[in-house]
């Protein structure tokens, strides 16, 4: 018994506005992209014949295929770095840090930037990475290099550095959540059964945090795959991932091509999510 009767018409009506909103503004546009990506002919209209021409032209261009691969590569790199970093940080904050006051303070320091603009945080890396940027100034000051290194700004290294700072929180958050749900008695029970701390982690803690790890990896994967703003901010126009390609085609009014890339992006991401959902049930985390 609660304020809502299970299966009552009221619960349907309460769900309608949100469902309609998401259908109209997410599902329909996505299906539209799929449709447009098959449009052929000269005129851009709903009467266009459906063909595979757009896809064939896209896939016959080696440069575009390379871009697909490098986008995946970038996502994999970020997943590896933020996964390791995020797990270490989550484990430290939840398990190793004894003082509740420090835990709160460090946790806030970790989370607060997440509530500020991603764009501004990406831009904040620009003065760091330039030829005369803070990193080079520091390196020269420390005597580690005599001439400024140009490898940071307008480079994938610089983009990666910024993305790590932006997305580690996504990898760590779900792990923090899962670690908090593990009763301390489980760890203790394992220890009284003669498991050493590393074994306790490997056999008990890690398997129980695995759903959090997977969710975190999915979030990082999705964000990196679709990230074009960081790439544009730090990479200038010298580097591009799939997201930037969508934008380029869009700005060049090649809407059908933009749709093809968008669909491709969507398929990649759906495949990633589907793979992850086979491992864990996301609903358990949301609940």
């Amino acid at each position: 018994m609660s304020t809502i009767r299970p299966g009552s018409p009221t619960s349907y009506w309460l769900a309608v506005p949100a469902a309609a909103w998401m259908l109209a503004a997410v599902v329909v546009p996505t299906l539209l992209l799929l449709w447009v990506s098959f449009w052929g002919g000269r005129a851009f209209s709903t009467a266009s014949p459906l063909t595979f021409d757009n896809y064939i032209r896209f896939f016959s261009n080696g440069a575009y295929l390379g871009l697909v691969l490098s986008t995946f590569g970038q996502a994999a790199l970020l997943m590896a770095i933020t996964g390791t970093l995020g797990y270490s940080i989550a484990y430290f904050l939840v398990v190793k840090l004894q003082s509740a006051r420090w835990r709160t303070a460090l946790f806030l320091a970790f989370v607060i930037p997440f509530w500020t603009s991603t764009l501004i945080r990406a831009i904040a890396w620009v003065p760091f990475l330039g030829v005369n940027g803070v990193i080079n100034q520091a390196l020269i000051f420390l005597g580690l290099t005599s001439a400024p290194i140009e490898a940071f700004l307008y480079s994938m290294a610089g983009i990666t550095m910024a993305q790590v700072s932006l997305y580690t929180m996504l990898a760590a958050g779900p792990v923090v959540y899962m670690l908090n749900t593990i009763p301390p008695a489980l760890r203790e029970a394992a220890m009284t059964l003669k498991a050493t701390p590393f074994t306790v982690w490997r056999r008990i803690i890690f398997p129980l945090t695995l759903p959090g790890v997977v969710i975190g990896q999915v979030l990082v994967f999705l964000n990196v795959m679709a990230d074009f703003a960081t790439v544009a901010t730090i990479g200038g126009n010298k580097h591009a991932l799939l997201g930037n390609l969508v934008l380029n085609f869009y700005e060049g009014s090649q809407l059908r091509f933009a749709s093809v890339v968008a669909v491709l992006l969507m398929v990649c991401m759906l495949a990633g999510v589907a793979l992850a959902l086979r491992v864990v049930d996301i609903r358990k985390l949301g609940a």
Binding site: T10, W21, P29, L32, I112, S117, I123
Partner: protein, 297 residues
């Protein structure tokens, strides 16, 4: 009696042995803690240093460039920002972003509470409904923005920050608010509602008088998500805003034209603005929770 004497005689001999052994596993555990702690602190430094540098450089002198040295300390770039020409005036975009964020926050709160309450009703297809809402988080902004812009174009609807951008923003903020409310309702003790219902309150009254006041801190959380996610939204805005830009778009446009400390000033301002928003919401959250808890006993 004999045992007691033996025990006493042995006690001093046992103490040093224990100290040696204790070092063993404790030190190992401490080393792990220090290593992980080091990683955490280094990352926090790594995460905060650019933000703090941005803030610092925004106060550089009139001849200061986009990096160190600052050539003095001044409010020059903030003044520049205030006296801006039409070309790079950030005030109207700021106002638009703020209004848009408020609207998104309100919409998110209402729709998220309704949606979460609906899921509590366990209607048929609520699983599908859950994933439909989750889609808003999973689907990248670039796809939603591009797709929606395309749809508007085919329907012949003009893009504008207060119509089309608002619609796409809510698809992004609503799922976060929804998940927040689901988590809140999960921890909510439904027996409180049962108590009210057995006391003769109707379902609606019970929801208004019992449920809502108790979950209000969570509602604030959903509101904060709605505000801050919309305020900082970039990819969806890029495709659906039209001619009058929101703040992130204006910032990006300025970055494309020229990187000046003025941009740092606007970055610092919006970041400070975000902090203030978080502060206000956190304070409200804290006050509300205290009020609910104070009423409990």
């Amino acid at each position: 009696m004999t045992q007691v004497t033996i025990a006493k005689a042995e006690a001093p001999a046992a103490a040093p042995r224990r100290a040696v052994r204790r070092l063993d596993h404790r030190t190992r555990s401490r080393i792990t803690a220090w290593m992980l702690g080091g990683i955490t602190l280094l990352f926090l430094l790594y995460q905060w240093l650019p933000i703090l540098t941005l803030g610092l450089l925004s106060f550089s002198g009139p001849t200061g460039g986009t990096t160190f040295p600052m050539n003095g300390v001044s409010l020059h770039w903030y003044r520049e920002l205030w006296d801006a020409s039409i070309m790079n005036d950030f005030k109207p975009p700021l106002a638009r972003s703020f209004l848009l964020a408020l609207a998104c926050s309100a919409t998110t709160v209402v729709l998220a509470v309704m949606a979460a309450q609906a899921v509590r009703g366990r209607f048929r297809g609520n699983g599908l409904f859950f994933y439909l809402l989750l889609l808003g988080i999973m689907a990248p902004g670039i796809l939603v923005g591009f797709g929606f812009a395309l749809l508007m174009r085919l329907m012949g609807i003009e893009l504008s920050w207060d119509t089309t951008a608002f619609v796409t923003h809510v698809t992004w903020t609503l799922p976060f608010g929804f998940l927040t409310m689901l988590a809140v309702f999960n921890r909510f003790d439904a027996r409180l509602e049962e108590a009210a219902l057995t006391l003769g309150a109707s379902r609606l009254t019970t929801f208004r008088r019992v449920t809502l006041p108790i979950v209000l801190p969570g509602v604030m959380g959903a509101g904060l998500f709605g505000f801050s996610l919309s305020y900082d939204e970039y990819p969806r805005s890029l495709f659906t805003t039209g001619a009058d830009l929101t703040l992130p778009l204006a910032v990006m446009a300025q970055l494309d034209r020229q990187l000046t400390p003025e941009l740092y000033a606007i970055g610092t301002t919006t970041t400070a603005f975000s902090f203030i928003a978080i502060g206000i919401f956190t304070f409200a959250f804290w006050v509300l929770r205290r009020r609910v808890q104070a009423r409990k006993p």
